[in-house]
């Protein structure tokens, strides 16, 4: 320990700020072709960011139609057919075209190479191809919307989807099928990059937890997505050519589809949530100035979730006609996956203990994640428990549960990541006050939207119902009211983040005084990230000692009023490191 400290003690002052005109990945070439044919992981990350923002807006509009229509027990604004198309569009866009690529393809692409001290991902051309494939899939989905939309629900259960639906199912399914390849490419790229391109000294036990989480995510993307591809092809074959695979009237088995579909789609929820968990580990440590509590537990629980996540798909099918023994087995395995999630929450909570906490927007989003994810995770136990799932299955209780995990968890983490890394990506600071306000509004709006849905579901209101019993109207009105607050909250970052690009103050290279290697590059990063390969000497979260992963002292930490507001520095900025310190033991 002391020997290492001596080495840190030898290091000198922080690296000098880059001169303002320094060429970076954004300004070295402005032509449209330099963007469309770029193989720079950062630019591809930005392409993904723009694309998924569009899909998020599209999915959000569909959600708005659904919620507004539920204001009245017999449908307030649209017909049943339009409603069915709206919730399907909401599900397909949000899941396949926003949540799955959100963190891996935007922040994974952008920051995995920077966090491990590499110049790019292992396969830059494959990376660009993944974006084109993704956009091709999105074009197919758009095609299906333009010719009338799909009305099957995102779960696409046959025989409805293959026989009965009058909508344009094939283009939509084709879109999800093609987008799946993009997910495989990204997963493969990230996994190989993490294996082969880590900087000298960056051992597995020194990897930031975001990298661990993305590694686990890539594992699922690689192994599970092909099964989705197979399933969707079988679905299209049955619909187009009447080959009996799932439709019992031509010799198929509809439950087989559910097994195949959930064999992908259950692990897919971990594709969505694991990267978010990685973001939270980064943000919580930085804004409480602490080492992560239980590094190994947090890292390996990601892998544990990824592995166990493959073994519990049939818990979506407890009332679908599976056997009693299958049900008790899958219920058992579902209980097991709750444990690593609980471990993560306990470790994040313990990280806050005796910290020195500030509440900039990324931290508020991260705390919001923990608050909402606790509810999302705990309500999952009701659905993993056989006796309670019978009644709650396919009701709004399920809807509320997965929105707590997917939106309360993953979208909060996405916003935490966006706010945390925004100054690095664009070299500009956004409004501290507005961003905090937006984070608070989103959390409050979220609670108001989805807590009533738990009560509705407990009272038996089924999913995908534009018509419902009149005594549930009050809860639906509350939920829609909350949804409009939530919508307002999501609109705010679009405004102040865009404004920051125009007239935001310039961000320093390490505005949060964070330890990761990505902060060792200028903001915005230069074309090849690092002038020389960084040499890593310690773990990722040495905030207590005050050194980054290269053993150099951290700059002065963010004060209470935001990192760039000079007035706030009269507050309590965190002292610059390094500070020699003994490891303390608690518990």
């Amino acid at each position: 320990m002391s020997a290492v400290l001596t080495r840190w003690g030898l290091s000198t002052t922080p690296p000098p700020e880059p001169p303002p005109a320094e060429p970076n990945y954004l300004n070295h070439n402005y032509s449209i072709w330099s963007w469309l044919f770029t193989t720079d992981h950062k630019r591809i990350g930005i392409l993904y960011l723009i694309s998924i923002t569009l899909f998020f807006v599209g999915g959000g509009i569909a959600a708005g139609v659904v919620r507004l229509n539920l204001l009245a027990p017999n449908g307030a604004i649209v017909t049943e057919d339009v409603y069915n198309r709206a919730f399907t569009a909401h599900g397909v866009l949000m899941l396949f075209f926003f949540l799955i690529p959100a963190v891996p393809a935007v922040f994974g692409n952008f920051f995995i190479p920077m966090m491990i001290g590499a110049k790019d991902l292992a396969f830059p051309k494959l990376n660009l191809a993944s974006w084109y494939v993704f956009m091709l899939g999105a074009a197919c989905a758009a095609w299906s919307v333009l010719v009338g939309g799909i009305d099957t629900g995102w779960t696409l259960y046959p025989p409805y989807s293959t026989r009965a639906s009058q909508a344009s199912v094939v283009p939509g399914v084709l879109g999800a099928f093609i987008a799946g390849f993009s997910s495989i490419m990204t997963g493969l790229n990230i996994m190989v990059t993490i294996h082969k391109m880590r900087a000298p000294g960056l051992t597995w036990n020194r990897l930031p937890l975001f990298v661990w989480a993305l590694y686990a995510t890539s594992l699922i993307q690689l192994l599970a997505t092909p099964v989705l591809g197979i399933t969707l092809v079988l679905l299209m074959v049955e619909r187009m050519w009447g080959v009996g695979i799932f439709d019992p009237s031509i010799g198929g088995d509809p439950v087989l589809f559910q097994h195949l579909f959930w064999f992908y789609s259950h692990p897919a929820v971990y594709i969505m949530i694991l990267p978010g968990m990685g973001v939270i580990s980064e943000v919580i440590t930085c804004f409480s100035r602490k080492n992560i509590f239980g590094y190994a537990a947090v890292a390996w629980s990601s892998v544990g979730i990824a592995v166990v996540g493959f073994l519990l798909w049939a818990h979506h099918m407890f009332v679908a006609g599976i056997s009693f023994y299958a049900a008790i087995l899958f219920s058992f395995l579902s209980m097991l996956v709750a444990v690593p999630s609980a471990i993560k929450v306990f470790n994040w909570t313990a990280t806050l203990y005796r910290g020195s906490i500030t509440f900039q927007a990324p931290m508020i989003f991260a705390l919001g994640f923990i608050f909402l994810f606790i509810i999302g995770g705990l309500t999952g136990l009701y659905l993993a428990t056989l006796g309670t799932d019978i009644h709650l299955h396919d009701t709004y209780f399920v809807v509320a549960h997965f929105h707590f995990v997917m939106v309360g968890g993953m979208v909060m983490a996405y916003f935490a990541a966006l706010h945390y890394w925004w100054p690095k990506m664009f070299g500009r600071m956004y409004s501290d006050w507005w961003s905090r306000l937006a984070a608070m509004i989103i959390i409050v709006g979220f609670f108001l939207t989805f807590i009533p849905q738990f009560i509705m579901g407990y009272h038996g209101m089924p999913r995908r119902y534009p018509n419902y019993p009149a005594n549930l109207q009050i809860l639906n009105v509350m939920s829609t009211a909350g949804g409009s607050i939530l919508g307002l909250g999501y609109l705010m970052p679009a405004i102040y983040l865009t404004l920051s690009l125009i007239n935001g103050p310039k961000a320093s290279s390490n505005p949060w005084s964070a330890t990761g290697l990505e902060w060792q590059t200028p903001s915005p990063p230069s074309i090849h990230n690092f002038e020389e390969t960084p040499i890593v000497v310690c773990g990722p979260y040495e905030y207590a000692i005050g050194v980054d992963q290269m053993g150099r002292p951290l700059p002065e930490g963010p004060g209470e009023g935001g990192p760039i507001d000079p007035a706030s520095h009269a507050g309590h900025p965190y002292p610059a490191g390094p500070v020699p310190k003994e490891t303390e033991v608690v518990g």
Binding site: Y295, F371, T385, L386, G460, P462, Y574, P575
Partner: protein, 364 residues
């Protein structure tokens, strides 16, 4: 119907009480843990905010004892949920032997119920896409208080789900397959029936009512003396009787006779017995087996018989099948045919009988 939902939704079956006990056990446990974590986070956020703790932070890397504690304790708690949940599911999954049986057929977008005594009713659905006759028989599913009722469910088209929130029961309704759901109502009244599996345009109108009546009223309903279901439906004989007519109409009786020249096994006493199949397999002859044998006769061939039966797929509706099953169930030993000692038992005829079977001689 009140304007506001009540705190605990209406409970009208034994399963509902068992569900609520488990639900509130999980709720109290998880809410306690969740609140404790919330309180700890809020405490940390206040106590350790930058202005209160402006100095440097301690370097705490973790604790093996804490990690083990918060791995093992939640695991144990989760498994109490699991065990209790299996018990409730076990209860809900296995209907008692003596349950009253009702066939329920789902189709886009209505539920059709058939009682063994012949009553029929359409519960719920969108009147706009029904025939005149169907519209006339829209009513409620009448069930007796305090008696187990088993629903045998199937679908004519896509997957539906028959859920009764007040009973906390729910089961997917699949085409080409038979699922069961059962309940024992504990409270008189009318309760919602919902389709819980998305099934197309009018999914949300595939709703109806279940009407719990006293056992006396239920007997009168079965006898046709009371129309508790809210619609007048002529009863053309019991379901088994309808099945017998179909059995003759479809000429099943030509081969499934008790004559020595029979080309197919006799079916009396078949239901619930163990059947020996080609390939040295055995199977219990339940609804699923009988219906599969009607629709896909070559899939499971009884030992000792040639696979000569034609498929009736497309020729019989789900309702016809329910009637045929009911008829075959009613075929007790000797109920329709005489017996004789002159001929050996056809190999593969139903075996598990109360006494050694004797060969039969057809009387026609």
């Amino acid at each position: 119907m009140s304007f506001l939902p009540s705190f605990i939704p209406e409970r009208a079956s034994i399963l509902a009480d068992r569900f609520e006990a488990l639900f509130w056990y999980i709720t109290l446990t998880t809410a306690t843990v969740g609140l404790l974590i919330y309180i700890f986070i809020i405490y940390c956020c206040i106590r350790y905010r930058r202005s209160r703790s402006p100095g440097t932070t301690p370097r705490i890397l973790g604790s093996h004892r804490l990690e083990i504690a918060w791995t093992i304790i939640p695991t144990i708690v989760f498994f109490t949920f699991y065990g209790w949940g299996v018990a409730v599911y076990n209860y809900a999954f296995h209907p008692p032997e003596d349950a009253l049986e009702i066939f329920v057929i789902g189709k886009q977008w209505m539920w059709k119920a058939q009682y063994p005594s012949g009553q029929r009713v359409i519960i719920g659905g969108n009147p706009a896409n029904m025939t005149e006759a169907e519209r006339a028989s829209i009513g409620k599913l009448v069930v007796p208080l305090g008696r187990p009722v088993k629903l045998t469910l199937t679908s004519e088209d896509v997957i539906h789900n028959f859920g009764i929130p007040a009973f906390r029961s729910k089961m997917d309704v699949l085409p080409g397959r038979y699922t069961t759901s059962w309940f024992e109502a504990t409270k008189l009244g009318e309760y919602h029936v919902f389709c819980d599996q998305y099934c197309g345009t009018w999914h949300s109108l595939m709703v109806g009512k279940v009407h719990v009546v006293t056992p006396e009223e239920f007997e009168e309903f079965l006898l046709g003396a009371r129309s508790s279901q809210g619609s007048e439906n002529p009863v053309d004989g019991s379901l088994a009787f309808q099945g017998r007519q179909l059995f003759m109409k479809l000429q099943c009786s030509t081969c499934h006779t008790a004559k020595p020249s029979a080309r197919a096994p006799v079916l009396e006493g078949l239901y619930g017995s163990k059947v020996h199949l080609k390939g040295n397999r055995t199977e219990i002859a339940d609804e699923q087996y009988i219906i599969e044998s009607i629709l896909k006769p070559r899939a499971k061939v009884v030992e000792g018989w040639e696979p000569i039966m034609p498929s009736y797929e497309g020729q019989v509706t789900a309702e016809d099948l329910a009637a045929l099953v009911q008829y075959i169930r009613s075929l007790k030993r000797g109920t329709t045919l005489d017996r004789t000692e002159d001929f050996p038992v056809p190999v593969g005829a139903p075996t598990e009988r109360p006494e050694p079977i004797s060969p039969v001689k057809g009387k026609n």
